[in-house]
Structures are given as structure tokens and as C-alpha cells.
Symmetry: none
Subunit: 259 residues, 2 copies
């Protein structure tokens, strides 16, 4: 039987990151989406930095495993395919991919046994063209051209999210349906109770409109897809509404029944 190997997680490489907060935030969101291997190329303020741990909010295992490199070329030396994340494709003949396309390609490569990664540039300067040229493709986020200043950790977040989404595309329990749905008989019992009480209350006027009114009520309630418990609850609601006011009236009419 054919069973594809699971995709290994990609390496995330940050080139010359300036802010420790961004390194920590990147580590945190990597952990959120199951990524673990973070490499830093010449971080401006050295390594380790306590502020990175503060902003990682507990994803310390990612930061503790960080490896340091002097250049991008060193950082990606053992990787077979690296995609460069940049919002501004330069004059290059590299393919430009959406995050979905980029992740699909790298997961395919990873399943085939290759070691893959995403390269992110520094906060202000971005990636240098010479380093982009070491990559196999450019991944571009669909940024609004009127405001291109994307935070570094946000770029990592979206990449890590896309990776996880693609690696595990089974949808969540579309309906967290833990309770049994009410069947037709239960719903009809509910409808009949409601309509009898509304009849008593003079709700259906003029009488010739009653069939349409009944139908509209039933459609609206059917759309809610009540569970059995909910159908019982709403029968209780109707009873309470009807009897409750009667009690209030009775109390008003007969002061001796008040405590």
C-alpha cells in the first residue's frame, strides 16, 4: 500500500534580524504551527537575548535550539530547496510563488526526503539580491501595494500557518455535533405545540394567512437544526411563556396567593 511519508517541517532562516521581539514572536508562532528549527544569520544585537524569550511566551524550546550563522550561504548550506520570502521580487528570473504554491512545492520535496527552508529578510532592508539568488523560488505574500510594511514575525506566521494547513488538510469536525439531532417527529411535536398556543392567542390573523404563517415559522425553526435537547428546551420555553403569564395574572387577580 502507498503511504506518503509525512512532510518534515521546514527550517526557518531569519537574515540579520534587528529586533529580539521579532525573533521571539517568530519562534512563538512557529511553535503554534508545529515548526521547530530556527536559524539566525548575524542577528544585530547578538544571541541569546532575553527579550526574545519574553516575547516567545513559553516557546523556549525553539529559541534554545536556535543555531547561528555568519552568512545566508552558510545558513542554507545543508538545505536542498529554500524559498525566499519577499514582498518585492527584484529583477530575477526565479519563479514567484504564492504561499500556497510555495508550501505545496516544499512539502512535496520534503516528502521526497529533501531538506527545505524559508528565508526571511531583515526588518527594514529585506533580503539582498545576492542571497535571493541562492534560493530556488520567491514566495510573495499578497500584500496591499499601498502598505507594504509587513512585520517580520507576521510573515513567518502566515508561512507557518500555510505549512500546517497544507500538511493537515482534514477539516475540523465541521459541526462539533455532540448531541443527537431532533428527528421529524420531535420537530412536529414542537411545531404543533407552538401553533396550538398561537391559535389560542389569536396570533393567526387574518385566518386565510394562517397556512403561510405556519409554513414560515416552521421553515425558520427548521433552519436552526435543533438537537433533541434543544427541541425539548423550546417546548419548555413555550410552556413557560404561556403558563408564566397566567401565573402573573392569577397573582394579580388573587392577592391572597402572594407570599
Amino acid at each position: 500500500m502507498f503511504a506518503p511519508s509525512p512532510a518534515l517541517t521546514p527550517v526557518v532562516i531569519l537574515d540579520k534580524p534587528q529586533l529580539a521581539e521579532n525573533i521571539g514572536a517568530a519562534a512563538r508562532v512557529m511553535a503554534n504551527f508545529g515548526l521547530t528549527e530556527l536559524r539566525l544569520v548575524a542577528p544585530r544585537d547578538g544571541w541569546p537575548q532575553s527579550r526574545a524569550f519574553a516575547s516567545a511566551s513559553g516557546a523556549d524550546w525553539v529559541l534554545n535550539a536556535v543555531t547561528l550563522f555568519p552568512t545566508v550561504a552558510d545558513a542554507i548550506a545543508d538545505l536542498e530547496i529554500v524559498h525566499a520570502a519577499t514582498a518585492r521580487p527584484r529583477e530575477t528570473l526565479l519563479p514567484v510563488l504564492t504561499p500556497t504554491q510555495s508550501v505545496a512545492e516544499l512539502q512535496g520535496a520534503s516528502r521526497a526526503g529533501l531538506k527545505v527552508g524559508f528565508l526571511f529578510g531583515a526588518e527594514r532592508a529585506g533580503l539582498e539580491t545576492v542571497d535571493i539568488a541562492l534560493c530556488k523560488a520567491i514566495m510573495t505574500l499578497p500584500i496591499d501595494s499601498r502598505f507594504r510594511s509587513l512585520n517580520l514575525a507576521q510573515a513567518v506566521a502566515i508561512t507557518a500557518y500555510e505549512w500546517r494547513k497544507a500538511a493537515d488538510d482534514t477539516p475540523p469536525a465541521a459541526f462539533a455535533q455532540t448531541q443527537k439531532l431532533a428527528d421529524g417527529a420531535m420537530m412536529q411535536g414542537l411545531f404543533q405545540q407552538l401553533e396550538e398556543e398561537l391559535e389560542v392567542a389569536g396570533f393567526f390573523h387574518p385566518p386565510e394567512k394562517k397556512p403561510a404563517m405556519v409554513r414560515n415559522l416552521r421553515v425558520a425553526l427548521s433552519r436552526a437544526r435543533f438537537s433533541e435537547q434543544e427541541a425539548r428546551t423550546f417546548r419548555g420555553v413555550i410552556t413557560a411563556l404561556v403558563r408564566g403569564r397566567g401565573q402573573t395574572f392569577r397573582k394579580k387577580a388573587d392577592p391572597s396567593s402572594l407570599p
Copy 2:
């Protein structure tokens, strides 16, 4: 020629945000992906805050247009469909959607002319169940269960990214909405009327269970996605049920009123 209306951008609502940096980072990434309308519910440190502007990195127009609300109910009163972003679906029967599914549904609704939004909870506490119950669905990010602590602005980033990604290529008008959906204020009016009458009727017993009972009623009715007309109809239903029995009782108690 058929040309689908463009989807309007969704409102982003942050419930009780604690850190100005996160508000600014959310505004920044909204601007990155073309979203503009940010609402804050009771921000812990008041508003405006200079640190939010610092972390927005120039996306000042989003922050300058921020509107403030005392409660989630107020903040979503004019919206027809709001999805609650939460990593922890509670015991609720709301549908649970992936970001892709959530965005597809809200873009369809937006193209059909409805006003839509995403609700995000506070940094530590998340969303309260009572506020989730005001929403039409839950949007859940595919977070690794071993490290669920997702930064607030990262959640906004992924949502805004998915919105922009899908805005180009979602199929048109999945929503064949011929009637105007009831907005949050209409639904809240309906809920309040129902709950007041049930309170009078002694429905909520034991009293400590009232919050859960109220929540369950609201979730069940929210799922029905009432149109404005249906919401009005059900308010009439409640009134009729309450008054009708009173009349019946009066009639029985006072035979002289019979024809």
C-alpha cells in the same frame, strides 16, 4: 455580463485587548491586507494609546478610525454575520470552520450586501462564551495542541491574509439571500424579550443555571440566521404566547366577557 460585486472588507473586533502593541500590530497587518475597520471593546488601558501607533508602523488611518464600544453586543449590533475566532470551541453547537471556510462564507455574505466581521478575544482570557453565543460560527486556526498560545495580532494577520487571498478567487454569491438578515441589535432585542418573559415565567431554575440556559437558547436561535422579517415574527410569537394565555385565563375567570 455577469460581474459579481466585490466583497467589502470585514470589520475586525478586538474584545478587551490588553496590550497597545497588539492593537497596533493588528492595525498594521490589517492595512497590509487591505482591511480598514477596527473596533475595540473596552481596551484595558483606554484609547487612544501612543504605543499602539508606534507598533502600527504607519498604518495610522486604521487606528485613527477605531471605534470604541462597551460590550461585544454593542460592537456587533449593526453586523449581520460575525464569526468568533477561538482556538477552543466550547460546548456549543455553532458550526466550527477553518479560516478558509470562514472567509468563504463571509465573503459570499459580503458580496450579497451583508455586513460581516471577525471577533477576537483578549490576550489571556480569550472570548467569553456569552459573547461567542452572539456569533454565527466559530473560526478555528489549525494550532498545534502542544502550544496553543497564539498572539492576538498573529490571529488577525492570518485572518486578514486569508481574506485577501480569497477576495480574488472565491466563487460569487454562495449566499442566495433574498431577505435581509437580522443584524445583531435585532437578535439581541429578540433575546432580551424572550429572556425577560422567561424570567417572569420562572423558567430559569435553578438560578445558577440561568447563564448557561440563556447561552444555549441564544446559540440555538442564532443558528437559524433569522431574516429581519423572521426576527419580527418571533417577537410577535413571544408576545402572543404571553398575552394569549392571559386572555384565555381572563376569559375563563370572567365568563361575562365571553360573546
